[in-house]
Symmetry: C2
Subunit: 145 residues, 2 copies
DNA sequence: CTGTAGATGCAACTGAGTTGCAGAAAAATA
DNA sequence: TATTTTTCTGCAACTCAGTTGCATCTACAG
C-alpha cells in the first residue's frame, strides 16, 4: 500500500492520462469509487467524501467527466438515480472496458455483472438492434429464498 | 365498435369493478392506455388527453390508482420516467396480459413491446433467475440511420 | 513565471413526482 | 329525489436528482 501522498499522485496520473486535470475533487472521487465494492450514487459520493468541500454541481460534473473519459461507468439500475462504478481495466488489448449485461436483483438491489457468454439475447433484426441488456430478477444469493 | 357513450360506461364499470370511482379523468386515461400500442409516460398521457382538463397531480394520482388497482402496469425502463401500460386480464390475442420484454430506443426514446418469442434470453441458473428483460438499442425505425 | 484552457462555486433553473388541504363530485343511503 | 358519506380533484407549495450560465479560479504547458 503506497503512502497517501503517493496514491494521490497515482490518481492524478490516471486522470491526466485520460485527458483530465488532476484536481482534488476528482482524485478523491476516483479513489472513493475505486475503493467501493459497489456502484455509488452522487449522494453516496458526497457522503463518502466529507473531507472534500465541493459544490454539488462540481461533483455531478466530475462524475460526468470521469464517465466520458471512460474511467467510470454510469449505470441506470431503474431506481431513477445514476450510479457510478470504477471501470476495471480488463485484459483487453485495447484497454477498453466494454459494456456488459447487468442483472439487477429485485430482492437485494445488488448488481451482478455478466458477460456476453452468460447471457444470450437474440432479437429479430426487423425489431431493432440491441446495445445494452439489463435483466431484473433474483441474483445467485437470493434466488433460493 | 360501441358508441362513444357506451365505451365510457364500459370503462366506468371496469373502474368500479376494481373498486375505484368512475371519474372522467380516469375513464379517459384508461381508454388512452388501452388504445396505445406502447407504454406511456405521464407526460405523454397529458398530451394524449387534450380534451381532459386535469391537474398534473390528478393524473399522477390516477396513474398510481390504476396501478395499485391492477388495471395498468408501471414500468421502469431505466430512463428515469415511469411508464404505464394497460394490463389485460385475459391472455387475449391482442392483449398484453403478462409482463414482457421491452426495447428502449436510445435514439428516439420510443418503447417497443416484445414477446418472449421475439427475445430469447438464456442465463445460467448459477448466476440467478430472470424476471424481467430490458433491452436498450435502436428500434426498427432508427436502426438504419 | 505566466497565459490560458479547463475546472469550480454559486445561484437559478428543469422536470418528474409528491403532498396537504379545502372544495367538488361520486356513490351510498334514506 | 334529497341527504350523507366517501373519494377524488385542483391548487399551490414542495422534494429530489440533475443541469446550466456565468464569473472566478487554478492546473499546467510553454
Amino acid at each position: 500500500m503506497p503512502r497517501r501522498k503517493q496514491r494521490t499522485e497515482d490518481w492524478r496520473q490516471v486522470l491526466r492520462d485520460a485527458g483530465l486535470r488532476g484536481t482534488s475533487a476528482r482524485i478523491e472521487l476516483l479513489e472513493l469509487l475505486a475503493r467501493s465494492p459497489r456502484p455509488l450514487t452522487h449522494q453516496e459520493a458526497v457522503e463518502g467524501l466529507p473531507q472534500v468541500e465541493t459544490d454539488r454541481s462540481t461533483l455531478f460534473r466530475a462524475l460526468q467527466d470521469l464517465t466520458s473519459a471512460g474511467l467510470v461507468r454510469r449505470l441506470d439500475l431503474g431506481d431513477r438515480v445514476w450510479r457510478y462504478e470504477r471501470v476495471v481495466a480488463t485484459a483487453d488489448a485495447a484497454g477498453e472496458a466494454v459494456p456488459h449485461p447487468h442483472l439487477l436483483c429485485v430482492d437485494c438491489g445488488n448488481i451482478t455483472c455478466l458477460t456476453d457468454d452468460d447471457v444470450q439475447v437474440k432479437l429479430p433484426k426487423r425489431l431493432g438492434t440491441v446495445e445494452d441488456v439489463l435483466l431484473k430478477g433474483h441474483c445467485a444469493d437470493c434466488k433460493e429464498s
